[in-house]
Amino acid sequence: MSINKEKDFGTPASTNENMVTLEIDGFQVTAPAGTSVMRAAASIGIEIPKLCATDSIEPFGSCRLCVVQIEGGRGMPASCTTPVAEGLKITTQNKKLADVRRGVMELYISDHPLDCLTCSANGDCELQDMAGAVGLREVRYNPIETHLNAAKDESNPYFSFDPSKCIVCSRCVRACEETQGTFALTIDGRGFDSKVSPSQNQPFMDSECVSCGACVQACPTATLMEKSVIDNGLPEHAIVTTCAYCGVGCSFRAEMKGEQVIRMVPHKDGKANHGHSCVKGRFAFGYATHKDRITKPMIRASIKDAWQEVSWEEAINHAASELKRIQAKYGKDSIGGITSSRCTNEEVYIMQKLIRAGFGNNNVDTCARVCHSPTGYGLKQTFGESSGTQDFDSVMKADVILIIGANPTDGHPVFGSQMKKRLRQGAKLIVVDPREIDLIKAPHVKVSHHLKLRPSTNVALINAIGHVIVTENLIDQAFVNERCDTASFAKWKTFIAQEHNSPEASESITGVPAAELRAAARLYAGAGNGAIYYGLGVTEHSQGSTMVIGIANLAMATGNLGHEGAGVNPLRGQNNVQGSCDMGSFPHEFPGYRHVSDPETHQLFENAWQSELSAEPGLRIPNMFDAALDKSFMGLYCEGEDIAQSDPDIKHVHAALRAMECVIVQDIFLNETAKFAHVFLPGSSFLEKNGTFTNAERRISPVRKVMSPLAGYQDWEVTQMLANAMGYPMNYSHPSEIMDEIAQLTPSFSGVSYEKIDRLGSIQWPCNDEAPEGTPIMHTEHFLRDNGKGLFMLTEFVQTAERVTGKYPLILTTGRILSQYNVGAQTRRTDNVVFYSEDRLEIHPHDAEDRGVNTGDWVGIKSRAGETVLRALVSDRVQPGVVYTTFHFPESGANVITTDNSDWATNCPEYKVTAVQITKVSQPSEWQQQYSAFSEKQLDLLEQGISHD
């Protein structure tokens, strides 16, 4: 449930285009065929009493409270399960119906605790509401047996399950099935014994429950209730904002009590999430007020010194003077900045503006460097725009879903649920992944092909699929002729048809049986709408950009572009990966992906920003580190990014940070990078600021301030203060003014404004004169390259330099887990640690047995770059020869072992392929011991410097 309730129509909307007209209580109503009588009535303001119905799930017809009478019809049908029909005459209120409803309610209440005044749902309880609606005045029954003493299940950290208050309406069970697709709940028993049961009558925490909270939201009573509401009481107002976790960009109603967030409730009108959420977005917001938040600016001369709290003015002036000093000593190009996908569009925009116009160079980069920079490159080259082609809802029209190197149920859980819904409806599934992702074993989902390729062989595999499509004539020739550059297609066709690209030839490289690959290729190319979804398993390779190009080639060759159900869909890891890239945070591109050397664009920005701009590309993040060790890059302004934990070959990163003379970190916590910093500028969480995020489907959604910034300023204000102190004036009074400037200077954003975002809820770019309300599906008429044609490019497979040897015989690959987010700075500071408290190394039973390793053993993981120690988890989810870990905990040192190998086009690190050896050990690695001591020292230096008022 939620406060300030959004209207509940009782049953989902019908998408039928045929309209029917009927009469309800004497009022005429027209509704799409397939609409329930309950919904049709609600659409004209007639609220039929209900308990088991809610419009997020299909009708069930069990509570019998919504009965109506139909003229000429028999009995009293449930209005939730009765569809509208032409000419029906419905009565929703008369004495007979009222008697039935009162009787139903009397039975419910006879087995319900009458503790309304002290109940956590008091004022927000549908059972209470219905008792009032039907006029229940007495309960005549004196039951022999009740459920009133049923024990509570408090095992979940975020919600309580009190079966004594359960009316067995099955809304939770259906939400778990239909909305989330986990099927963790059931109604166990018959008759009086019927009860909601997680899994096999287990506590929630021991069941398959993923804590998405859909059941809590669906529950009409206090049976499933957020513990934050139990502890604090009901919220009193709500503000719609956008989640700051993954790239799905769910819309939420932050339900508040004053400035305290009581609960986050997914917004029904959210176009990315349609009222659903995951455990992170709904529950893991406590980090925003965690005791580790730093709320006062700090400076120090060296990283060996204690921090010193100072005023904002002193911190900003000190930072600016240090940056200017470094430029005077080492040159204009010796400083730069790193933005983050966790920042808003407006923050990123003014950060890169400060660097380009204020610092006078293009040394700006973003964390997309280490995740989706190959997407930006590959899709720009082939399609003409650095973005995915579809909206999320497009998946509901897909006939075949091809997932490559992505784990949507963990990395993008809300979209994963939508995808599962489509798969349960019958869409075919092909998975390309070295590891068994959760979708493969999802209930009622059948994978047609799991191509378990060897890590680092993506391009050989995509070429083999292309080979089958070309040689078996599965090409959509009409699409190619009309929409693509035919000369490049001819060249690609010749290349891809070569024997060395055949499934048979590539089988020894990829490990994927040729026959299965052929079958998968035929399925993708021939079964209607084929949609490709991919993640970091595509991009984080030495051939990441080549693979993105290979995917684009396939989609163009099969005509799977420009319409619903198809497309190329990069699943972005963080909330604003798309937006941070759009806003010009790559060193070679202005906002809107226009090269810094393009004369027209260069002039446009020089005029607008009133500053002389460099036309030379700046340093990328890994180049910054190399340049730091070369003494030519000595000052860094890093906002919202934790390069000292998240970037590869971490010893190299740490050495580079130590080499710099001034590191300025703007963050909400003293993150790992801040332990190497000289200036700390306290940041604001997404709850404390205004702005926008752009999700993986190019949807620009509002981020709204629901509480005051704990440190006094929103992040964009801090950057603005630094710009002014650097001598480059900025005078924005609200982020909407920044967005107005973005729109003025960026053709794909020219129609975007806060007024329009407020009016429409969200906008998918391009939004301009051609598409004033945005663009759900791209490239419908033409591609965005100069000639409007899609470009095929040649994608020769090149083996990575990171090869297995006798010394390093296993391949380590990395990934994420549902409950933790990226480097864990946020989720580690919430109760999500109950679900996942340490990174573990998954190892196949054969490899484990060879090394005498059992689950729980400490194992050393040694690569060419370094060594770390994790606990082992023996699992056949990975194949022999492959080991896997997550990277959510800094002490794991996962990036001590990853190497500096990177994508040829963008330097995106090859996180997914590291040759390693595993041995059983008894203590942490030398690096872990040293870093632990360093980290403790830094925390001590923090403690010495901060006040505790």
Binding site: P617, D626, D630, L794, S902
Partner: protein, 70 residues
Amino acid sequence: MKIEPLIKMANDIGNFFNAEPDKEIAAEGIKNHILRAWDPRMRKAIIAYCQEDGSELSDLVKTAVTKLAA
């Protein structure tokens, strides 16, 4: 700038463009990629290396870097 990472980066770029049968187009592709993506100090370093030694660069990349220097 340390030259070893730059040599590797340049050769990796070369490996992608090497798929192009027309080596003149391939070399132009490599040159343009480096020109549009590399910071000037990196370009300067690879040009200097190519002119002074260049032994670790593939022939195609050497051609491209020579064009870059021109």
